[in-house]
């Protein structure tokens, strides 16, 4: 059962087709990753899902009917470009955004206090937003996203600019929200995060969806002829064998692709024969990163730098 379906969205800015016939669906209870490099069309797609941009064609369907105010009330949205009223106090800010979603009263206040405590902001409760550090402002922003207990949580690049501790906190909360049956959609250019957290992904490049589906299935499908290798020693000699299609060095790991699945054992043999110390040899394993590189092609270099 799909909670949210995106059908054939198109949006152009001037002569640029920022989002080009994008379709995907988000199942109930899933963590969904919209992944792609910067400028691929992630934010524009999300803004159309949020009803902020009106798509030229296509529609977004929430459990069978077109999205409208009902969806706005049920969603918590963390935009890529964060923003709060600088002059407002922390508590005022939280209560205002909850009120916009129709939540007022004691219960919200209690929950706000709970989150403030959890994010270690108790001493800043009556501070003005402008007096908070950037990291703390981001925490407040995140609390405003989830305080009204939304069914859908849409996070646009949630991890950008977060330090490792807050990244972990955010990840923890996402897992927790998932366990409560919430639908979580986030966009990221960090393949690593997407791989660890998502059940479902849609990969977008140049405004087009190039891959879409359950992460497990996708990996299974792409991993067939793939080896993920952790080793010490130079493996570049593998390039001269015809049955090896590609050797890609990712630093700590090397991805090796063979033409037929049956040739995988041959690779292991070659490695041993050439005195390579194999720390980890993972057959039928492929990272999302590798899949992206494979699909998006030549432009892989900047992807890697960001990852």
């Amino acid at each position: 059962m799909n909670a949210l379906e995106v059908h054939n969205l198109v949006k152009t800015f001037g002569s640029v087709r920022a989002v080009d016939d994008v379709s995907f669906s988000v199942p109930e209870g899933s963590v969904f990753g919209l992944i792609g490099r910067n400028g691929a069309g992630k934010t524009t797609t999300i803004r159309m899902m949020m009803n902020i941009y009106i798509p030229e064609t296509g529609e977004v369907v929430l459990r069978g009917s077109k999205i409208g105010q009902e969806f706005r009330d049920k969603v918590g949205y963390l935009p890529e470009e964060r923003g709060l009223y600088k002059k407002m106090k922390v508590m005022e800010t939280l209560l205002f955004f909850a009120e916009l979603k129709g939540k007022t009263g004691r219960e919200v206040e209690r929950k706000a206090n709970e989150y403030i405590k959890r994010f270690q902001l108790s001493d800043r409760k009556n501070s003005k937003i402008e007096d908070l550090s950037k990291g703390n402002q981001q925490k407040i922003q995140f609390i405003t996203t989830i305080l009204h207990d939304p069914e859908f949580i849409i996070l646009d690049e949630p991890f950008s600019g977060l330090d490792p501790i807050n990244t972990d906190l955010l990840r923890e909360i996402i897992v927790e929200l998932k366990s409560k049956g919430k639908v979580i959609i986030f966009s990221t250019h960090l393949m690593d995060f997407a791989e660890k957290m998502c059940d479902q992904i849609a990969m977008i490049d140049h405004g087009k969806i190039i891959l879409n589906g359950e992460l497990k299935e996708i990996k299974k499908k792409h991993a067939k002829n793939n080896i993920s290798l952790s080793h010490s020693g130079d493996v570049s000699f593998l390039n001269k064998y015809d049955f090896i299609e590609k050797v890609e060095d990712f630093g700590n790991q090397t991805g090796i692709r063979v033409k037929e699945a049956s040739q995988i054992q041959q690779v292991l043999k070659l490695l041993v024969e050439n005195n390579i110390t194999v720390n980890k040899f993972n057959a039928n394993e492929i990272s999302l990163h590798e899949i992206f590189v494979e699909l998006a092609g030549n432009n892989s270099s900047n992807m890697k730098a960001e990852a």
Binding site: R47, M50, N51, I52, Y53, I54, Q69, R72, D73, V75, Y77, P79, E81, R82, G83, L84, Y85, K86, K87, M88, E92, F96, F97, E99, L100, K101, G102, T144
Partner: protein
């Protein structure tokens, strides 16, 4: 359109504006400034009046000299030392040579001026004044009356007239204005209504511009901060705009109410007594009308200010983009000011029933003259119609503009936005 989200936004705007230091300061400072502005005219006048004058009055005949001398005998300005006058008698040629020798003194302003009163003045009341600055109304006001008195006394001398008859001849015509209105009672009019008219004009003008600029800045800020994106994930752009404009309009009306409070107390209580020249014939209804019009005006103009804020993504560009609205406010302002010269001028009558202008001109007219009910009705209909038609247009511009960033759009592009849906 009007729902819990709009109310949440209105509440936030009220909290931010109504309880801000700037608001409280403005609310208190403006009346002080007004009093100062109105009072400064008098202050400047009295300052000018305090300059010390040194005058030489030369008459052509001894009778004239003695008459003038006695006319100045009881003069207050001389007693207070503000005016120093010396008297002498000289024939025309003597006077001419005296004038030549006094040139240096006059130029150095040791001597303010020389007055020559020829014998012919007993026929035509024409006298001559020689000075470096020969147009000094403050001085003339001091001199005119005693000299006139002397000439009149001398003229009627020996004609066997009673003191009353001479006093009558001395007195100038005094025009007393009486305001005729649909009320049965005819009241002696003072400057009160003129001042009230000016007050309404100034307050409406100032407040529309001030609150307008405030709304515009806050829209630009929301755009720069990107808060607007979060707001739009909860509420529609229409709800957002309505909330913002209503919040600020309510703030404005409360402020105006506070400003007009002294006037209301003046009308409805007998706590204050005004001098006769300032008698005021205003009703509570007039004041409520001003508040009502101000509210309509705020909604009309704040819609425009908000959409200008939405068009631009920084304060400077927005400031330079408000000229179309400025024109809509400035022209009516000047028309309303012109009412104090002639309350019946046709331009003002038309403007008081013209879109946009009606907001500022009609309250000023109502204060100063009796406006026919039909004109008030037309004005109200026009104002409400203007408000209702401008709001959706402003809303469209706001909706498109609010998410635009980057290049400053051209006006032609903004007009194109109106066709988007």
């Amino acid at each position: 359109m009007f729902n819990k989200r709009t109310i949440a936004i209105i509440k936030r705007e009220l909290r931010e504006k109504l309880f801000s230091k700037t608001f409280i300061l403005m609310t208190l400072l403006i009346p002080i400034f007004m009093i100062f502005a109105l009072g400064s005219g008098t202050i400047v006048n009295s300052l000018g009046g305090n300059t010390k004058f040194n005058i030489e009055i030369i008459s052509q005949s001894p009778q004239l000299t003695s008459a003038i001398k006695s006319a100045f005998a009881e003069n207050n300005d001389i007693k207070e030392g503000n005016l120093k006058v010396s008297f002498s008698t000289k024939s025309k040629p003597e006077f001419n040579s005296f004038l030549g020798s006094s040139r240096e003194k006059l130029l150095k302003e040791n001597l303010t001026g020389i007055i020559f009163i020829p014998d012919s003045s007993l026929q035509d009341k024409e006298i001559e004044y020689y000075s470096k600055n020969p147009n000094n109304s403050s001085l003339f006001n001091k001199l005119r009356q005693p000299i006139n008195k002397a000439l009149i006394d001398l003229y009627f001398q020996g004609q066997n007239l009673t003191g009353n008859q001479i006093n009558f001849a001395r007195k100038n015509v005094d025009i007393n204005g009486y305001k005729v209105s649909s009320d049965k009672q005819i009241q002696k009019a003072g400057y009160g209504n003129m001042i009230a008219s000016f007050l309404f004009t100034f307050l409406l003008y100032f407040s529309l511009l001030y609150i307008g600029a405030m709304v515009m800045r806050s829209v630009v800020q929301e755009k720069i901060n990107r808060i607007v994106e979060i707001l739009l994930s909860s509420a529609s752009s229409t709800e957002l705009m309505i909330g913002k404009i209503l919040g600020n309009s309510i703030t404005g009306v409360i402020q105006m109410f506070i400003w007009l409070l002294p006037l209301m107390l003046l009308i409805s209580t007998s706590w204050f007594v005004l001098p006769d020249e300032l008698t005021l014939s205003l009703t509570m209804g007039n004041i409520l009308f001003v508040l009502f019009y101000f509210f309509i005006g705020l909604i009309t103009f704040l819609g425009l200010f908000a959409s200008v804020g939405a068009i631009f993504d920084n304060d400077q560009d927005a400031q330079s983009g408000i000229w179309p609205i400025m024109i809509l406010i400035m022209i009516p302002f000047f028309i309303a000011i012109s009412l104090t010269n002639n309350p019946e001028n046709t331009i003002a009558t038309v403007a008081s029933m013209f879109p946009f202008a009606s907001i500022i001109v009609m309250p000023a007219r109502i204060a100063i003259t009796d406006v026919p009910l039909i004109q008030i009705l037309i004005s109200v209909i026009v104002s409400i119609a203007t408000m209702s038609s401008i709001f959706p247009i402003a809303g469209k511009i706001y909706k498109v503009g609010i998410l635009m960033t980057g290049k400053k759009p051209k006006w032609s592009e903004v007009i194109k936005w109106l066709k988007y849906n």
